[in-house]
């Protein structure tokens, strides 16, 4: 804005867009910060119970199904690849690739969630069976809730994709769903390593 024009302007000076934080970026930072705090609280609980208090992990006589969870991890990580493929497809104008990628991602996410529920039903301990049980169910359950939210978003995007939405120029819905899904994947890799492997 020219200074001459500023003399006739009433109210605060007109701000350049570059003077302010981009809303999408700020929103994403706030989202990441809130998620880090939520998961951080649960990981702090895990740390104190296992390291500070020295609770055996897993507490005898319980066992964790490391291999089943490992295969489940593989499924979830693979779903990130199909998600990425889906977005790359629509960016190149390949609608069939986008649909196939989304369907496969939803299918694998659903498989992960159902396997987790089956694991809960057969694992042999409940949240009220000591600190170990509480931490295990809290962390995996919190992550499961995130998977459920991700699946809901992905299902909506899949329906939209089959209705002909999205194009190489406009595919924000798939992009944002993809970001969320990858975030859920990252959290599971951390949860799986700390709860099951270490």
């Amino acid at each position: 804005m020219e200074a001459h024009a500023a003399a006739h302007h009433h109210g605060p000076p007109i701000a350049h867009a570059s003077s302010k934080v981009n809303r999408e970026v700020l929103g994403m930072f706030l989202f990441i910060a809130s998620e880090v705090m939520v998961f951080g609280a649960f990981f702090a609980m895990y740390f104190f119970i296992r390291v500070v208090n020295g609770v055996p992990w897993p507490t005898p006589p319980y066992h964790l199904p490391v291999y089943v969870a490992g295969i489940n991890t593989l499924i979830l990580v693979t779903s990130s690849f199909t998600m990425h493929w889906s977005l790359q497809s629509i960016k190149k104008g390949n609608r069939a690739g986008m649909k196939a990628g989304l369907v496969l991602t939803v299918f694998m996410g659903l498989t992960f969630l159902l396997t987790q529920l089956m694991e809960y039903s057969r694992i042999g301990f409940a949240p009220h069976n000591g600190a170990f049980g509480s931490v295990f169910y809290s962390l995996t359950g919190l992550h499961g809730a995130h998977v459920l939210v991700g699946l809901t978003i992905l299902t909506c995007m899949t329906i939209r994709a089959f209705r002909g939405h999205f194009s190489p120029e406009h595919h924000d819905g798939v992009e944002i769903a993809g970001i969320y899904w990858h975030f859920v994947d990252v959290m599971w890799i951390i949860v799986y390593t700390t709860i099951y492997l270490l």
């Binding site: 804005m1 020219e2 200074a3 001459h4 500023a6 003399a7 605060p12 000076p13 701000a15 350049h16 570059s18 003077s19 302010k20 934080v21 970026v25 700020l26 994403m28 930072f29 990441i32 990580v77 990130s80 998600m83 990425h84 977005l87 798939v174 992009e175 993809g178 970001i179 990858h182 975030f183 994947d185 990252v186 890799i189 951390i190 799986y192 390593t193 492997l197 270490l198």
Partner: protein, 210 residues
């Protein structure tokens, strides 16, 4: 800072990096127990911090400003904040303007701290910058040099970048206080501007700040 979740592609890369990092931690735990796992964890965390917090390097130069002006016309942009109304700066601008018949444009970035920046509460800072700018433009007009000016982004490099696109200068002056008193110098603004923009940049250091 690079935001690992800025786009789907960045987030996908973050998944791969996390997978590799935690696989390394698990392997270290299996081979060497807690201590080895902790060492690997600290190493990968340090590597991640360096990678995501480092300044992007090798940024391509802005080689051509979209704004065009008639051939023969010389345009000078002046980037200054607290020093914008300095007598030494005005003298230098007057000299160049008279020698080269230059059109002068001032950019005064709003001075905000991080808290105000993140809260987008920049209006008071912009009003202050506008007041300083008005004094400077009035002094120039008094010296017979009509100039224009604007309050720019609080990021000085972004403000200069904006002016390149809208004003299309042939030369830029970045005016600061001496080293030790200038936050811009501490942040390497002049050095970064010379790296980023493909136009002559004069660094003017002034002592008198009204």
């Amino acid at each position: 800072m690079r935001n690992p979740l800025r786009s789907e592609a960045e987030a996908f890369r973050f998944v791969i990096v996390t997978l590799a990092a935690f696989a390394a931690i698990a392997v270290a735990y299996a081979l060497g127990g807690w201590v080895a796992a902790l060492i690997v964890f600290l190493l990968v965390t340090a590597a991640a911090i360096v990678f995501y917090f480092r300044e992007p390097s090798g940024e391509p130069k802005v080689v051509e400003a979209p704004a065009t002006h008639p051939p023969g016309e010389y345009r000078l942009v002046v980037l200054a904040n607290r020093t914008v109304a300095s007598g030494e700066l005005l003298e230098e601008v007057c000299r160049i303007a008279k020698e080269r018949h230059a059109t002068v444009h001032f950019v005064a970035p709003a001075l905000t701290d991080r808290a105000h920046h993140w809260a987008s509460d920049v209006d008071p800072a912009r009003a202050d910058a506008q007041a300083r700018l008005d004094v400077s433009l009035a002094n120039l007009l008094e010296a017979g040099i009509p100039a224009t000016g604007e309050v720019g982004s609080d990021d000085p490099l972004l403000a200069l970048d904006d002016s390149l696109r809208t004003f299309g200068p042939d030369e830029a002056i970045i005016c600061t206080r001496p080293a030790g008193k200038s936050l811009w110098l501490e942040r390497g603004v002049v050095h970064k501007a010379r790296d980023r923009f493909d136009l002559p940049i004069t660094h003017l250091i002034v002592e008198d700040v009204p």
